[in-house]
Symmetry: C3
Subunit: 394 residues, 3 copies
């Protein structure tokens, strides 16, 4: 049991604070830039449109060319700083609304209508590679060639007989406390038992689990063992670096099949986080599939942050799963503050997933600072079995 | 006449600023912590519920056990900082919604469900004593044993034949300018004559009063003398340290009996103030009593701060007493700024109540800093008569 | 072509930042204080009313006496700092709502009801001269006697057969980027061609103009030359120091006569700008005049800043002229940031109006700092012809 003293020293306070930093000139920002990050849902950027996004404290323009390809370039025109997403798309390029400067997906300026033709060659804005996978847009913001696009749990997303459901929320807090929450199976027994707990409450026992954690080639394997009647439930999270978490969760209604869901806690900047979820739901009957899609469509507009005051006054959404569990996590995590004050926390044995995560992050930060190579994260050779039961008497 | 130069020196600016500070590590914060403070209305915390409050720059959880007893503990769980008021009450204790840590009213942790039983003994959060009196919850946030609960004007609240009415507003300004306003009888002739003045305007003459001030064992006795036709009206405020003010005010309708009201200007932090009012209304007929209660119920939701823009544009509530006088004070005091700039003020003879208040505050601050005992404030031996008339020819 | 390097030195960053400052103790603030500034529309201050205004980072009270004369005095009462506009007007003076101190239009205190009569003589608040012209209120905030009220293009406003239309918006950005926009004819070909362009889009060709700039006795003469079919259109802006711009623009409907409009980009403070427009519309028929006035009445409430989110999401007002062009400029200029970051811009030949403006501003700032007299700005001897056509074959 690692215990951090409540009167943590100034040095420890500084170490804890550095874990939460996301900008490119910080060590943790450099660690984060070693990975592919999901930034938006594919459906949120139609062909021929652009939107402003923010990721790792950088302002960016995400646009989809008229041919359907997605690009990610800097937020502002090099000329006089107007926001590019307020311009328009021409073919596979974006044009600034102010004076018509045009850029391609590599950030190269290709036209400056009121200047001498040819002179645009020297003008360039930032740009990052993107790829779409399963309805989610990912980018790599580091230096050099991107790593293999390998860490997503492909066995969940590319299964036969499942269909995919994507969701996104933006929360006003640092990414690390959302990531820590995903390595903390104990909170399920309290935060997610509040109010109406629906199918999730039925299926995941309220009893406090025994938890254990192990570093893997891809991240951390979390195991939570709970007694359920005469059986023992073993629930595993396949957690991939730096913040992706794949678990199984029950369906919306009792009796619905369980689905695998991957949650990413993407750092917008030090004070905001995008939560992107990708669910792989087993297809059953056409009617049941359609009902599940309708339910997810209804949930689409729900962002817990829009209901902040009512949630903190104890009024939760009347919902069996997605909105409710999201709202419960929101109250727990936003309640820790915009950036949780880790100097006055009191970690115990049940928090060893959090302690392990921090140790690994510090190790990888240390590698950046001393010039050692980072751990070569790679997909698990064999995806973990996410749920199982053993009999007490086994 | 004490006059403070408009071009007050840096040192004087510093002295004035220190009067407005409320945190525990400031001298004024220490002076304030020598007293009981009202923090909430009893009716605002039902049995089995919790709410977040803030007092003297400290974040706190106010909850009422299922048996009805009120407790005041720190805002956050010791474990990982989640806000305790978002949890739930069990018996006389509060349980955190995140991992179920439980605390009693003394701040002692009594259960950590995922940790070794018994280990919770060393975990404790802050807590302050509370008491309820006349529908108002008070707390003492100082060190050592609390002083006698003695300064409230009991003769007003515990009279035979009166019933009590409580109200609360929260304003975005420092407490001191609200307190200074209560030692400034002159403003009644201007601020409270604006717009529709109703019974209050009828009963309190617009003529500028002669004011005088005297330090008492409990605070300051303020006397305002006004001619009213052939008579002379003598209106007294029984002002108790550090900010409680008891006066008489007319009823809602002309002819209604006057009532005694105590107003407290409670420092939430340096930039916010709770105004809590406790009125003792003489019971007349059941119908009139019911009408007065109905009127106060209607006023319950009114907080001047919610009407900021319209008030500063000159649109006052159409109300004979409570909302109107509150709104008038709001415009005068918020108009001074969040923390009034006292270095460019121009005090005159009519402001001698304010000057006296500051002199006493500085004296008590000096006692804290030099280790001298504070003045042993105690209730007046004989409550002042708050209103009287003398004939001119007397 | 003046080009400012993207990696501008710290010194250049400082020079650029100083251009945007407005407070009285800054050099640019002193340059701005050499001129008359429009601050409000006449119709916004009825006789016997007061309002709070802010100009060049100073808070002020603008009021109109019961006799109709406008005055501009400090925002706060000298006594205890309450905002004077929340008081009331008596004759040609304003009385504070808190304790009734009264001030005349020169800022002289004339009454302190609770103090010894006569003692008010030594109390005075700030005041600035004002004048009304064509439905707009102007003030001079500099030291010494005001300059001649001479720079407004009188030939536009005082024409026979025109009627005047005034508008005002307040935007959350620095005045300089709004001023720079008015010396940038190129943006018309892009920003104002977005969405529905109406009569303006028809009349001003989308083709990128040839632009040229010349310093005049009053400011800068901007010429934009565009081919329009077989003709060449020559559009001139008569730009007066420090930010007034007179141009011709088409009417609301195709075929309506063009009108001369002067736009001022008035610095509220470093982060806010008032845009005041004064249009001189040729009177045609009573019906057409009435229709135009109705249209402007409808536009009166429109402030682009109230529609910020929808504008940045690409939803423009369904309007042929005033609201649409305002919204387009809003997106371009607010998109540059609250104070545009000029250190990372990339100016070209088409930006030479902006370069000229900055050079002149730096020259005038230098005069202030070295004690040299400023340029004696004066009205053009002959107002420029604002629009003309020449045949290609001419």
């Amino acid at each position: 049991m690692e215990k951090i003293d409540g009167k943590s020293s100034h040095k420890q306070a500084e170490r804890l604070k550095r874990l939460t930093e996301t900008a490119g000139d910080t060590t943790m920002g450099k660690v984060l830039r070693q990975f592919w990050h999901p930034i938006a849902l594919s459906k949120s950027v139609a062909a021929g449109t652009a939107k402003r996004v923010r990721l790792l404290s950088e302002d960016l323009t995400l646009y989809r060319g008229q041919g359907g390809t997605v690009h990610l370039v800097g937020a502002r025109c090099a000329h006089r700083g107007t926001l590019l997403h307020t311009g328009w798309i021409e073919g596979d390029q974006v044009r600034c609304m102010y004076h018509g400067w045009k850029y391609d997906g590599s950030g190269q300026c290709t036209e400056r209508p009121a200047e001498r033709p040819g002179s645009e060659g020297s003008v360039r804005i930032g740009a990052y590679p993107v790829r779409e996978y399963c309805g989610v847009i990912f980018t790599y913001m580091g230096e050099g060639a991107p790593p293999d696009f390998d860490l997503v749990r492909r066995s969940s997303c590319e299964q036969e007989g499942v269909f995919l459901l994507q969701r996104k929320e933006i929360w006003p807090c640092n990414w690390l406390q959302v990531a820590e929450n995903s390595l903390d199976a104990v909170h399920v027994s309290f935060a997610h038992q509040m109010g109406k707990v629906g199918a999730f409450g039925e299926a995941v026992p309220a009893e406090v689990p025994e938890v254990s954690y192990e570093e893997t080639s891809a991240g951390i394997c979390q195991t939570a063992v709970r007694r359920l009647g005469e059986k023992t439930q073993v629930r595993v999270s396949d957690w991939t670096f730096p913040y992706g978490n794949t678990v199984v969760i029950p369906g919306v209604k009792a009796g619905d099949p369980w689905m695998e869901v991957t949650n990413w806690m993407v750092p917008v900047d030090d004070e905001h986080t995008i939560r992107i979820s990708l669910r792989a739901a087993p297809s059953t009957s056409p009617e049941a599939d359609a009902a599940l899609k309708r339910y997810f469509d209804e949930c689409d507009d729900y962002n817990s942050a829009d209901h902040h005051d009512e949630l903190f006054a104890g009024h939760y959404p009347d919902d069996p799963l997605v909105r409710l569990t999201s709202a419960q996590d929101y109250v727990a995590l936003i309640g820790q503050g915009t950036i949780a004050d880790r100097t006055s926390e009191c970690l115990g044995a049940s928090d060893r997933g959090i302690s392990m995560l921090r140790r690994i992050l510090w190790r990888e930060m240390d590698a950046v600072e001393t010039g050692r190579p980072p751990k070569p994260w790679r997909r698990l050779d064999q995806p973990s079995k996410l749920m199982g039961y053993v009999k007490e008497t086994d």
